[in-house]
Point group: D2
Chain length 336, copies 4
């Protein structure tokens, strides 16, 4: 299984790209949390397709319909379910790739795992569209976290090898023109995390965050603090000295990304996520016809982003918010 996450809240994401709907159920949010629908809509709009020159032309209103869990706009303690109907579906776009897996996509592995019964249309349950319900759940967690003084913010720090905004845009535009795509790196900072969140070993904040962030399609790496660069530092360069500031213990620097031993230090939690370039490109690619086992040349049609990083920013925030909120609920059990 895989579409379920969490220890104190339990999140289940369902739906396929071309099924009637995608959606999410979240169990475990305490009763009494108000959901600001306007803000949630604005948050979802950041992820929605069709809202920029770089995004796929697929249009979905992405207006969440809440089936349960709310009473007068406030969580009532029961599992919360929200769905997004799939309306702008063009399944015929995918007939061609039913037996010819697109390189870089889950088409082949879905076939290996599920065989003939798989839902191949539009990537099925592997579609990037599944990040929309993740954003519903995460958007609600973000609102709750803010009431605890915790803010989550993601930004692109690298796209197509570029680190400046204009150059990033140019890289995406160039890729689009070339029928190609580019990847990038997203940095996420979580401010206001109190010290003591997270658990030892497999329950560390790193494990919890990586455990959900790797569920975002196209993510191939996650690092915390200075991350891979830490491997090139001496201990004397990497260790963050402890100091007292405003009566509380802090670290002078934050190379550890706000996490020691899996547990928050009270400094900002910082992590970076590597996104591979969108695998759907117009360029002709080599594939195999799974019926005949013969090589074929494939040209992927359909509507695709030349770079998914801009739309991935709210998704990374959503994932981080869910992980942190889940850890925050654990914390409550430990103290009276």
């Amino acid at each position: 299984m895989g579409s379920c996450y969490g220890e104190n809240i339990r999140l289940m994401v369902f739906g396929q790209s071309h099924a009637p709907a995608v959606g999410v159920t979240v169990e475990g949010i305490p009763a009494g949390e108000a959901v600001d629908m306007e803000r949630l809509r604005a948050f979802l709009a950041r992820r929605a397709p069709g809202n920029s020159e770089f995004a796929t032309a697929r249009h979905e209103a992405d207006e969440p319909e809440f089936l349960s869990g709310l009473h007068d706009g406030v969580t009532c303690g029961a599992p919360l379910t929200a769905i997004l109907h799939n309306r702008d579906v063009r399944t015929q776009d995918y007939a061609e790739t039913r037996y010819v897996p697109r390189p870089g996509h889950a088409d082949f592995t879905a076939w290996a795992k599920y065989g003939e019964a798989r839902d191949y249309a539009g990537g099925g349950h592997f579609s990037g569209r599944l990040t929309a319900p993740l954003c519903i759940a995460g958007g609600i967690c973000l609102q709750i976290l803010e009431r605890h003084g915790i803010r989550v913010s993601a930004r692109a720090v690298e796209i197509g090898g570029e680190t400046e905004k204009a150059a990033m845009d140019a890289a995406i535009r160039a890729a689009k023109t070339a029928g190609d795509s580019v990847g990038g790196v997203v940095e996420c900072v979580i401010d206001g995390v109190p010290p003591g969140l997270g658990d030892p070993m497999f329950g560390g904040l790193e494990n919890r965050i990586a455990g959900i962030v790797f569920g975002i399609p196209a993510v191939k790496g996650v690092e915390f603090g200075v991350g891979f660069a830490a491997a090139r530092l001496h201990g004397s360069e990497h260790n963050d000295a402890f100091i007292v500031r405003n009566g509380a213990v802090e670290t002078k620097t934050n190379r550890c990304g706000g996490i020691l031993g899996g547990i928050s230090t009270g400094m900002p939690v910082v992590f970076r996520v590597a996104f591979k370039p969108t695998p759907s490109i117009e360029t002709e690619q080599e594939s195999v016809d799974l019926r005949t086992m013969e090589s074929v040349q494939l040209r992927v049609r359909g509507r695709h982003d030349p770079c998914i990083v801009p739309r991935a920013l709210p998704v990374v925030e959503a994932a981080a918010a869910i992980a942190i909120y889940d850890a925050l609920l654990s914390r409550r059990k430990e103290r009276e």
Copy 2:
């Protein structure tokens, strides 16, 4: 909670550095799997302290004592528990750091989380010693995986910024002489993974592997395939073409690290792990006395590795083996 891992096997690691023992319970290994004790001992010896010029001088026999789960050397279906007694314990080494957290360690966050009740000696449950029981569980999984034709192998690809063996050794030696430490990068390759292992979204092989690997102390980053470098490639450069080889579908290259959509392609699963430099260094460091909230200078005593990468290799293999074996058991449910 955090010391528990797995969906089909359930692994629980227990113990503190200076408690009577560290150990592990593994539930869910099917009955009938033989455990080769000689090979297990040899595997544990690779991790054991005191076996190289670079390792801590702490000596522990690391002879696992099996309390349950085996019958005549074969798994009997009941939960398997093995322990390692802690014998060479010098708690007085840590009296100094009880209220003066060591930079880069979990001392401060353990205090923030557990308060006065924490077991501060030797890092308590956060100690690197807890990787020993992880290696017992992983060593057994490695033996079972081999019977399925799956082999796991980790090697250091970078230490102290160096990528050649002699230079790596020199970097460690120089750090030791300087009373400092260095980090590094470990690459792990898993051969023989059949296509179709792993689940969508949060149950992907990346999530599963990262979810356990970030439980190894000092890990600050995990990447799959070309990882962060993927962010700098075009789709046309990164996508792995599908081809037919020996009658089966393969990818011509393996930039995705053997995983698409969270599910194995059948090619080797490849990931890299960033280890920060050992935080325990002899150099004087700035810290805070948690009783007085005054700044103090700390010089960490005790026995420490100038670089934990060499001893971490079997630990990464163990973690990977556990994750893959757990996914392999999932696979069995899906097909009759």
Copy 3:
């Protein structure tokens, strides 16, 4: 949390009596299982209100809408979500009981747990209506189990103290006339369970079945085999002798209800479930106004069954089917 069940399939039931919908998500059903919609509808109809003289007059079409998890009527491996819209909702019936908890209902405990934010209308998430999505999930499991030769069948063995069909009907009719209600006992038999299903201790078939059956509203007792009567037997009277029949080991009698040590013997699994009388009765009852903390007399209005046992039969079958199918999937992991 509580609306989630299962180890190999993961079932999450959502919805409130007067929310837009009730529904269920089931993750973990292997790809390739056909769902016969006609049979599923017929199964749901057995539970549906308004189909007998004894049932509540509430009318719901109970036509499940599948949002995900099916492709051409066959499970595709992705989480399966089905919903039932709540259409015939008369919330005004419940305004009176918002602050005056109905005796025998969850009104008071929902208030104690969730406070003002609870969804009080129609019992909210505690409503018997939530057994409808349970029947969707269970109805599908029943179809799959039949392909494995396993059949589940529940019948009323006692209603209002009567054990004959005509007397049971008369007891219900008399209770209805009196504005009162009666309880009863349901016996469920599961034929075709292979030996070896279930796990030791907390994973026994008894634990698994009781763990889901106590989730059906009004259930106050569960017993296996001869159950409570076993307490009055000698070992020599209760033990089931082993014999060989058709080349296989069986037990001569089946007082243990097909389960020894939590694991199936291969004989029919037999359990009985005690249902309390429907708490909603027209008779005036003593309650408390939660605002003023003063005693009040309450007369429950609304539409209620004088006995829920007849409609509970498919619900017990559904619950049993889910538990057994989950255990069956565990079994697959253990053997190649």
Copy 4:
């Protein structure tokens, strides 16, 4: 899997009757809970064999050895592991039953499930000896619950069909003399449970308690409040009226056993457990030789209780304490 229980604490019981040890790991007990070893020992002594005329003659000191999780006698936040060494082991007693399953025991089902690899000696992991580690975990939970004003108490209400103390004793003595055994019913009352504990549906207190209590060997039925007798009452007889007492809402009667909708009312939680007669009896019984598939007559040797009810009392208390404490920790998450 099956030897793991809990949502907020996670309990894993390991060991076999004739393995080096039996034990338990409990994760999730917050740091700072003192363990009174004297009281724990006294609690374990109530379950220990060899302490009454009715118990098996097997002698085990049952002195728990704590391997981890405590620091100066107080929980430190890390997983707590305690073991009991198995010393008085007479494996030869069981050679006879290796291939001749004892009626009423798990011998046959263990063989069906695990095959040749099973640990057959003394019932292996299915032995009643596994209730000793359950009592260690439960004994600690009982101490913590008392600090929250919650008390758990179990007593025998029926043995061998008798309900008076002297008659119960006589029934056991008569069974012993006859080489036979008797069962009984245990009633457990939990006082001081605050209103609002438990979750809807599968997370109800009934589900949680039954989910652990059915893990005690020989349990064949669990009922809450008036239980099966509720099936014979009218709603007007069974419903508990709400009243105000000492400024709080209570129920006038407690036929529901302190639970409505799965959630505690604040009244005592009351449940009863049916124990079957000990299956090990000296009387000759019919069985099958699994090698030859021929009928054989079996006379069970070894050391066995003619009635396990007296020793089961602390086990039921332990199980109830674990379930209630787990639910209490859930409650903390819901409110700040």
